[in-house]
């Protein structure tokens, strides 16, 4: 009897050991992953100062990330502003203070929705493209080929994307704000008869420089997150355990990059708001 109970204990022991092994492997892998992503960000930062600088590539990336995102941002901003106008109108009219619509729309756009929605749209549009491009270059040995010609892939491939995102996202955010406010104006003033003078006067009185500043800081931080996560995941594709191989690995890693980047943006949005507001 004592022997059988000993056997059961041995089985349990094996299970416990397996559990700890799994836990250990999980922890080690994720520490490893964080380490790779940190080294990636450091090397990227240093590479920004490496010469020769690829100015033509930067302009091309600005076109792809910035100019080509214009329509997406325009429509997102216009309809977000219009929805804010309608929602704000109905909420405010319950207290008879429709006059505050201008300040409600502009503050929520400038502080919050402008930076966040722009960053999310750019993640979906340009971030996914960056990640897939890096991933394909990795699996088809094009990055190895660059290394073999002793051309630094960070300087050659990633720095133009990095700088272009850093320039484009804040500009697109500002554009989002302007278009959004006019969207709110359209639905609130033109369609729902709010006083146009009150709309703009409310905006002027309530929006301060620090609100605009907060929005810009957020958009720069989000741009860093987008370019770091999206190029990083693609570049490190072969180090990602769950990725697998070939075309499927690129699609998996791209999905992962978009999800990771979006979540990180929303988390940092909270922290930045809490710290800076």
């Amino acid at each position: 009897m004592s022997e059988s109970s000993f056997r059961i204990n041995e089985g349990k022991l094996k299970m416990a050991v397996k559990l700890f092994e799994g836990l250990g492997r999980f922890t080690l892998y994720h520490l490893d992953d964080i380490g790779h992503m940190s080294i990636f960000s450091l090397r990227l930062t240093f590479s920004v100062f490496k010469r020769p600088f690829r100015f033509a590539a930067l302009l091309n990336e600005l076109k792809l990330i910035g100019a080509h995102s214009f329509m997406v941002i325009f429509f997102t901003a216009a309809f977000t502003g219009m929805v804010l106008g309608v929602q704000g109108y109905y909420t405010l009219s319950q207290f008879g203070s429709q006059g505050l619509l201008g300040s409600a729309v502009s503050l929520s756009l400038i502080r919050e929705l402008g930076p966040v929605l722009t960053a999310l749209m750019i993640t979906g549009r340009a971030g996914s493209a960056m990640c897939a491009e890096m991933g394909i270059m990795r699996i088809s040995q094009q990055i190895d080929a660059l290394n073999c010609m002793s051309i630094d892939p960070y300087r050659y491939l990633i720095v133009p994307k990095f700088l272009a995102t850093l320039i484009a996202v804040p500009l697109l955010t500002l554009m989002f704000n302007v278009v959004g406010i006019y969207g709110g104006y359209f639905s609130g003033v033109v369609l729902l008869d709010v006083n146009p003078g009150a709309f703009f006067a409310g905006m002027e009185q309530s929006v301060q420089n620090k609100d605009i500043f907060l929005g810009i800081i957020k958009s720069v931080a989000f741009a860093l997150i987008i370019v770091w996560v999206c190029t990083g995941r693609g570049y490190l594709l072969q180090k990602i355990r769950s990725a697998g191989f070939g075309a499927a690995s690129v699609s998996k890693v791209t999905t992962q990059a978009v999800v990771l980047s979006s979540i990180t943006i929303l988390i940092w949005d909270y922290f930045l708001t809490a710290m800076l507001l």
């Binding site: 394909i136 088809s140 094009q142 080929a145 073999c148 010609m149 002793s150 051309i151």
Partner: protein, 261 residues
């Protein structure tokens, strides 16, 4: 005799598979490659042929052992030193690894644009000249995806030769090509090497054909490298492992000769 260009000394390398098993690819591999020679590295799939190339270039680190390139150990180099060594190499990858969003012209011009101080006109001159030499004239504005496999290999070769490498590494240069095309690639290898005098390392399973080019054959098997100085030596080897390999790769013509002997 002069110093070897590339030397493997007791190199070990293993990989961890997805299921956690350890797969030992190289178990104490040692061989040397002399300057100006053509060395063919042969062996079955998964015997570490491509790994050998990645190790030479420092794209991978071995578990233990030394890999000397011109007397300097690449396994202990930092990124800058590696970059200095790599510039001496020209590499033709297994999948060619052309930059698929650049045109043929831009692909070949890239190393010149990035690594030399040549002007636009000088670069154009050299690129057009070498594209003509490789029979790619008129395809300057095509993208790699629009070319046939053989043409892609020739673009890869043209790109690899732009910086006048001292050592050329070819990873499976004729995989996926029909016999006529592979013959054409081998002819190119031969004529260009004669002209430029680089040391060449060819990883291939196309053993019988490539014997014509080889000064030395390294057969990788079970993590060991066996070096043969001529193709005859390998064909007449009495080592059962090598006999197996010869029979697998060349059919039983040589084998039956051995039996008659």
């Amino acid at each position: 005799m002069s110093e070897p260009v590339i030397e493997f000394i007791d190199v070990h390398k293993s990989f961890v598979k997805t299921n956690g098993d350890v797969h030992k690819v190289l178990k104490g591999t040692s061989f040397a490659i002399m300057p100006g020679m053509t060395t063919v590295i042969g062996g079955g799939s998964g015997q570490g042929k491509s790994v050998t190339i990645k190790l030479i270039l420092g794209l991978m680190k071995p578990d233990s052992g030394q890999i000397l390139v011109q007397g300097r150990d690449v396994t202990r180099m930092n990124r800058r030193e590696l970059s200095e060594v790599r510039i001496k190499f020209g590499v033709l990858f297994q999948g060619v690894a052309l930059f698929d969003s650049l045109t043929v012209y831009e692909n070949v011009a890239l190393p010149l644009r990035e690594k030399t101080k040549l002007g636009k006109a000088a670069i154009q001159d050299r690129v057009v000249k070498s594209l003509t030499q490789f029979g790619l004239h008129g395809h300057e504005e095509s993208f790699p995806a629009q070319l046939s496999g053989g043409m892609q290999k020739r673009v890869g070769l043209a790109r690899a030769l732009q910086l006048q490498p001292e050592i050329m590494l070819f990873d499976e240069p004729t995989t996926g090509l029909d016999p006529a095309r592979s013959q054409e690639i081998y002819r190119l290898f031969y004529s260009i090497q004669k002209e430029l005098g680089y040391t060449s390392v060819i990883v291939s399973h196309d053993i019988p054909k490539i014997f014509n080019l080889a000064d030395q054959v390294v057969v990788m098997h079970n993590g060991q490298a066996k070096v043969f100085s001529s193709s005859e030596e390998i064909q007449w080897s009495t080592d059962p492992v090598i006999q197996d390999f010869v029979q697998l790769t060349m059919g039983n013509i040589y084998q039956s000769r051995l039996e008659n002997k």
